[in-house]
Amino acid sequence: MHCRNCHTRLSAYLDGELPEREMRDMERHLDGCASCRERLAGLEALDAPLASLSIPEMPGDLGYRIMARASREYFDTPKKGGFRVIARRWLGSTATASALAAGLLLGGLLGWNSHGNPVSERTMMQTEKTVFASLSAAPGGSIEAAVLAGFSDGGRL
């Protein structure tokens, strides 16, 4: 091993972080090289001054300030994507989803009617009945069930 190679690996050797074979190679080289041993000793001697480095005392209220900031910026603030989370939770309830589907169906029907489609009042009432019957017969019934029920009986829609 050349001294130059040894120099680049001294730090890792000091930390015992070289593979076993390289550790042995380093040891062999150091045994026979006073210059590299001196260099190694120079690195070892850093331990004492680095250990003497003191740091300012941690402010006693640091934890309190972190918690206050966390409340302000996280716990008491709506999260990003909060609308999606709320929407998912809300729609996660089957009953809510069914009610929403029924509302959309009826809304669509009324809208269609207001644009001149000749759907009779009787047909609309029948559809409403069917949709509500479907929902009330199966609380927790799915969107699909409600929509299909609306279309199957009121197929004229």
């Binding site: 690996r9 120079g42 690195l43 001697a45 001054p49 480095l53 003191s54 402010p59 300030r65 716990f75």
Partner: protein, 182 residues
């Protein structure tokens, strides 16, 4: 979650609970980790004021990242990544204040003379650390004061083991020259 049980829970569980809005769980994490986080930031930055900003920001970022945390990574490594990145970003933005937390002592009576020497030594080490480029400086902090191994340092510094080896070697050589050890 009962208050008493939180102190017995692992960090990883507390982090997940914190992400779900459990303030007490987050409070427990702050209690456990603020001290070493303060140490990392102070030793890297050399300024208590900057360190306080960084530690606060690190905990807030930890909270924000809690949803992305996977238990396959050690909590402490995860937090080391966060605080190291913040420190390195800060170093890019601002030249570190020089030894502002090491006031000079005016008197030199025997007891104080010793304190003065210690103070001067500490200031010398501080200046030597401040003179290092940010990444080798962080490598020195993580190795000497946090006792991290090369694999963990590689994760924190987003490099390879070889990269860690080079950063540390560079840092140590520069420190040896500055501190006048052989």
């Amino acid at each position: 979650m009962p208050d008493r049980s939180r102190s017995q829970l692992p960090d990883e569980v507390l982090l997940e609970a914190s992400g779900n809005g459990d303030r007490q769980a987050f409070g427990e994490l702050v209690r456990r980790h603020q001290s070493w986080a303060w140490g990392v930031a102070c030793r890297f930055l050399g300024s208590g004021n900057d360190a306080e900003d960084i530690v606060q920001a690190a905990f807030i970022r930890l909270l924000g990242a809690s949803g992305r945390y996977r238990r396959t990574a050690r909590f402490k490594t995860f937090f080391h990544v966060i605080i190291s990145r913040l420190c390195l970003d800060h170093a890019k933005r601002k030249k570190t204040e020089q030894a502002d937390d090491y006031p000079e002592l005016a008197d030199s009576s025997p007891g104080q003379e010793e304190a003065l020497i210690m103070n001067q030594n500490a200031a010398r080490v501080r200046r030597a650390l401040d003179a290092l480029p940010p990444r080798p400086r962080m490598a020195v902090v993580l190795r000497y004061y946090e006792g991290l191994g090369y694999d963990e340092m590689a994760v924190v510094l987003e490099t390879s083991r070889k990269g860690v080896e080079r950063l540390l070697s560079r840092g140590r050589e520069a420190l040896r020259d500055k501190l006048g050890s052989r």
